[in-house]
Symmetry: C2
Subunit: 476 residues, 2 copies
């Protein structure tokens, strides 16, 4: 029987695990109820049996699926399952779990178990979650590691976050140019297993300089007598550990890769980047960006305490409150104008709101262009001009419609004309700010997905109020 | 020399191509300037040579890189490069290009060239872009296809969009259970090439029922005398063509897969889903969601005509205008209250704005939970309760701060108290709507990323105005 079967239906897996937990609890309750006749030992024995049975059944689940289920369980159930999983399986599950839930789980796990779990991790997985582990646990784990693994862990830790070095795996399989296919096959057959995602063997010379790559596909179709040199791909695309992971991820997409060699600045092979790490990276990055655009610092554990969630969202709300107070100061200047014509108060949020919407459309396109590295200096100028024209066109259409509607509604066409003019101007400002702000943030080395929108909305709100009320003060 | 080298530096590639174009244009200008002495034939000959030279040099670029460069070039340059690429290379490039630019390129390409390009496409790539090709071109291409490819194309077209069937490749390599490793290797060596991303051979019986999978890794390390049956992975995870691609993509992430067998409802092997298609799918989906959240129907060609861009954004702006008019009707009801206390007009946008911000944070978390299939019925109820408590806590903190500030600023503490109460209530409403709207849209079979935010903002604006002005009318 094959254990750890992957599942096509996660809902089913979730229900299977909760049913298992239910069953386990019934057994426990039963043990306690039978306790009355023969106290003590029997119950303990029964409990130990129950725990072993739960652990045995959980072994049948894939660690990644257990990670998924753990994220969705409420704290009590989560802890019970977590405690029942074997350390080796727990190690595989914990790297799959979202950081917010992982931190909580680590905080709830006794140190001796945490040590066992950490020791079951590969050096690259250990490096991946090392920031979440308590310092004393990491110290003990480092000491317990073999010398090679310790060096590897230090290296991985030394690369900057979001770099290829952090994502790469250190397991490589290498061959020499002069070997024949038959020799390579024989060498491989002598090994009991190969690294995961091995689609290519890397060809290195005696100094470990990368010379080429030999795909398993060419290995199996080539004439057994041909040499590696004749079959291999020369000078394959390679990245350095200090390259940004996003750059490597785009190369995987464009060239449909499964693995890439990673070389140091002297061209020596130091590791291998595989598509599974890249897929996780793409997903995590997209996820983080989507949350950042809504003003969240990261994903939240659904079952985290309220104060923790409130804190995760507070920075953004504070910033929003400040900018809203600042933007509405523009209304404050014109309170006497509003007093004279109170319908201005009703209409002004429309001018602000449509400006924010247009600007955010521009922001989304520019952030995408920056992420795809597709905006050169020339394109940027072109884009700025074009977006302002699009703003003008949309301003004429929608500002016109809004102005006419408002003018007719309040029976005062001049009011409609002022509204139309304010919308046109605000849409053009929104377009300009929408192009310039993401570039400015990117130029300052910041992630434009974070902050662009709040800055933009501040400008479009302020200008919406100022332009509309200012024009009304002048002309009405 | 190896042609079509992939590149680690796309900016460099971009500059290389534009430099090439510059060089080509200089040569063309030179041919024309030498024209004065010996008219006609010489120029024509020289031009033909120049064109051949440009084509030869472009052949050195990877099609995916050319696709990238084409997206970033302005229309004139874009067309000149596009026309110079060989049909086979153009076919490989066009599948990599974003849909907005692809549609434009197809519109600008003469029919006879389009036919050549379409004929150079694999059936699965052809199915991928078939919706963008003119109907008459597709008809001719279908006729020119062999019978097998035609059937394959029809099948791929028949599956719903976003399904595994649309993404899968039809090239599979199969073996039988009774074969030995040596036999399998000999069979493979008899083939000149294997399908891309072949990490596993699929084991089928005489009726083409999927029995297992044999990885190339186990093939090369196993004893040559062992049978497939003894080495293969039994009953590998498989999807059906009608399954949603998003579900399969999550399986690739969780289980770190390179390829998956696709079987029909009777368990017969019909295709193969590979990680390159999944990576593209993940990226395109994330990209589309990010744009949809900002109210764009899709990516835009930076160089598209203004009216086309204006149209892409218009639907959203129209909806925004409608909801803004509707929300401000709540202000309209209270115009006399504002007339009595004009500072209400200044403060009311703050109440609306902070509600929108809180609600959008909740929306982002819920959309993520829905996309990850992690929100069960129980979790949903828990989340609704929790978000409302978080709203209450944040309302007390930030509403309190805002109320005190406003009360002191206007020297009227009752005004501050009304503002605080309105913010608390609006934040709790925002939390509830932020949870319920994405679920409602998802339940109606719609993408919650599209529309959740506009509905939410409508509610938080309306309620912000209504609660603040209504409470002011009652108590001030």
């Amino acid at each position: 029987m094959q254990l750890r079967r992957p599942s096509t239906d996660l809902h089913q897996t979730f229900e299977d695990v909760t049913a298992l937990l239910e069953h386990h609890r019934t057994l426990e309750a039963l043990a306690h109820s039978q306790d009355r006749s023969q106290r003590g030992v029997g119950v303990l024995l029964q409990q130990r049996q129950n725990a072993a049975e739960l652990q045995r059944r959980l072994r049948g689940f894939h660690p990644a699926d257990l990670g998924f289920v753990l994220e969705g369980l409420e704290p009590d159930d989560r802890l019970q399952i977590w405690a029942a999983i074997e350390p080796r399986q727990a190690a595989e599950a914990i790297v799959e779990i979202d950081a917010s839930v992982r931190a909580w789980l680590i905080g709830e796990t006794p140190k001796h178990r945490l040590l066992k779990i950490a020791e079951a991790l590969d050096p690259d997985d250990l490096a991946w979650i090392s920031d979440d582990l308590p310092e004393d646990v990491m110290r003990e784990v480092r000491e317990s590691l073999g010398e090679i693994d310790r060096t590897l862990l230090q290296q991985a830790d030394a690369y900057p976050p979001q770099s290829v070095g952090r994502l790469m795996s250190l397991e490589v399989a290498t061959v020499r140019e002069a070997q024949t296919m038959a020799e390579v096959l024989r060498d491989l057959q002598a090994r009991s297993e190969l690294p995961d995602h091995l689609d290519r063997l890397f060809v290195v010379d005696a100094r470990n300089l990368l010379r080429g790559a030999l795909s398993l596909q060419s290995l199996v179709v080539a004439n057994p007598a041909s040499t590696v040199n004749a079959v291999m791909e020369d000078a394959p695309l390679a990245f350095q550990p200090t390259d940004m992971a996003a750059k490597a991820a785009r190369a995987f997409e464009r060239y449909d890769l499964v693995s890439l060699p990673v070389v140091n600045d002297r061209g020596k092979l130091v590791g291998r980047l595989t598509v599974d790490a890249v897929v996780d990276f793409i997903r995590v990055t997209a996820d983080k960006d989507a949350l950042a655009m809504a003003g969240l610092r990261g994903a939240e554990d659904t079952f985290a305490p309220v104060w923790q969630s409130a804190r995760n969202r507070s920075l953004w709300l504070f910033v929003n409150l400040m900018t809203a107070f600042a933007a509405t100061r523009f209304i404050g200047f014109f309170e006497s104008t509003i007093q004279g014509l109170v319908s201005l108060a009703t209409l002004m949020p429309i001018v602000a709101s449509i400006g924010g919407n247009t600007g955010n459309q521009t922001v989304a396109l520019v952030i995408r262009g920056i992420a795809f590295e597709q905006l050169t200096e020339d394109t940027r100028r072109h884009l700025l001009r074009k977006e302002m024209v699009v703003g003008l066109v949309n301003g004429l259409i929608w500002g016109g419609l809004a102005g006419i509607t408002a003018g007719l509604f309040y029976g005062r066409l001049a009011l409609g004309a002022v509204m139309m003019a304010a919308i046109i101007l605000n849409l053009m400002i929104a377009a300009a700010v929408g192009v310039l702000v993401p570039f400015a943030l990117h130029g300052m080395g910041r992630d434009p997905a974070q902050g662009s929108s709040v800055l933009l909305t501040f400008v479009t709100d302020s200008m919406g109020f100022f332009l509309f009320l200012g024009l009304a003060w002048l002309y009405l």
